[in-house]
Amino acid sequence: MTVLVPTSLAEALEAVSAHPDAAVLAGGTDLMVEVNERRREVSDVVVVNRVPELRTWRHDPASATLFLGAGVTWTEVEADPIAGWVPALAQAARTVGSPQIRHAGTVGGNLGTCSPAGDGLPPLAALDATVHLVSAGGTRDVPFAEFMTGPKRNVLLHGELIAGVTLPVVSGWQGYTKVGVRNAMVIATASVALVADDVAQSVRVALGSVGPVILRCPEAEEFAAGEVDFGQRRVADAAVAEFARLAAAAARPIDDHRSTAAYRRHAVGVLAARLLRRAFPNG
């Protein structure tokens, strides 16, 4: 019954291996809310926010990839240089909670909690992020699409830690937008991330808060790729409207205390249209 504060990845893995039922604490912005509200009793806690290996990031120009350690905070993601490589994730970072929350909250924490409203998750889905998991027994890499299995559910096993994610550095416009009841300090009612890949000539879209997991929109993506002009940054108004309809159709929203299914479906269509137009401003 104790709080362990490892200062190396080896120590952290030893800790979660010895205490497989321990709560893993990163920034605390999700876990401590549950603890404060007595919705969760903690006995053993492994604190991972002072593990240097998890606090690092690495840009590899040769492979055009960016590795973000699980302990990288949203404050770090929203600023350059990281923001310049993954703008959609940086925009999402800027909408996470408040400055206080962004100073503490981490990329790995968003993945660990795996809320459908997690702001970092739609950009990770749209970017086809690879999630790196590590345990005393070794490592495994899981595509984001297979990592999240339901609301607040993922494939992470007891004794395993999220090491980080690898993201492609994509050439092309990308962005994230969401709606909620106010501008600051708000959980998304509906959110959309869009990544235009000028090299692969593809458009990738992911929806948040409108399903049990983050949803990609294969039909909308295929349609957009056939309609947009990557060189001239052009897309017709009618194509934007059809893209919005297909994105909304991909949503699987529910009624809950934050909003209604009908509003959420409408909202993701509006947000998807807005992002496609920002990516391809010419009509």
């Binding site: 401590m32 903690v42 503490a104």
Partner: protein, 165 residues
């Protein structure tokens, strides 16, 4: 289960004995160490009343597991200035009428010091964004923003060798 640990608060080592595992830094500061300046309200990171610095980062004390802050430098509102000798930020809040009931004030003072340390001449939008994690139900924020701007102006005037406030 009882926890025993030492926290470094406002430059002093403070022993915490027989604490519960899940206790937040906010709880420990107020209920175990008697530092009542840090306020508690929402206990879910929404209101910013419990803002403190941990290793120089502005965070919500309610979302920090107290036992996880061992070995880190914690600064609370009590560590910002001695009683009776307010900082320029505290004085500006008084002068601008940015304090009404006062409950949010310690958190806002911490957030304002943090903002001005990183960005000495913030735009109004930057001030609004940086203080967006601190809720005030009295002032409507206008006078708070004015207080921040007064400090920024006074500091830049002083730095330029002009008359100090």
């Amino acid at each position: 289960m009882a926890e025993h640990y030492t926290l470094h608060v406002n430059g002093t080592a403070r022993e915490v004995r027989d604490a519960g595992t899940g206790e937040s830094l906010l709880f420990v500061l107020r209920e175990r160490l008697g530092l009542m300046g840090t306020k508690g309200a929402c206990e879910q990171g929404e209101c910013g009343s419990c803002s403190v610095l941990v290793d120089g980062q502005l965070v919500c004390g309610c979302l920090v597991l107290a036992a996880s802050a061992v070995g880190q430098r914690i600064v609370t509102i009590e560590g910002v200035a001695p009683v009776g000798a307010p900082t320029d930020v505290q004085q500006a809040f008084v002068d601008a009428g940015a304090v009404q009931c006062g409950f949010c004030t310690p958190g806002l003072i911490m957030a304002t010091h943090s903002l001005l340390d990183r960005s000495p001449q913030p735009s109004e939008l930057e001030i609004r964004e940086e203080l967006s994690g601190n809720i005030c139900r009295c002032t409507g924020y206008g006078r708070i923003i004015e207080a921040v701007q007064r400090v920024a102006v006074a500091r830049s005037t002083a730095a330029a060798g002009g008359p100090s406030a």
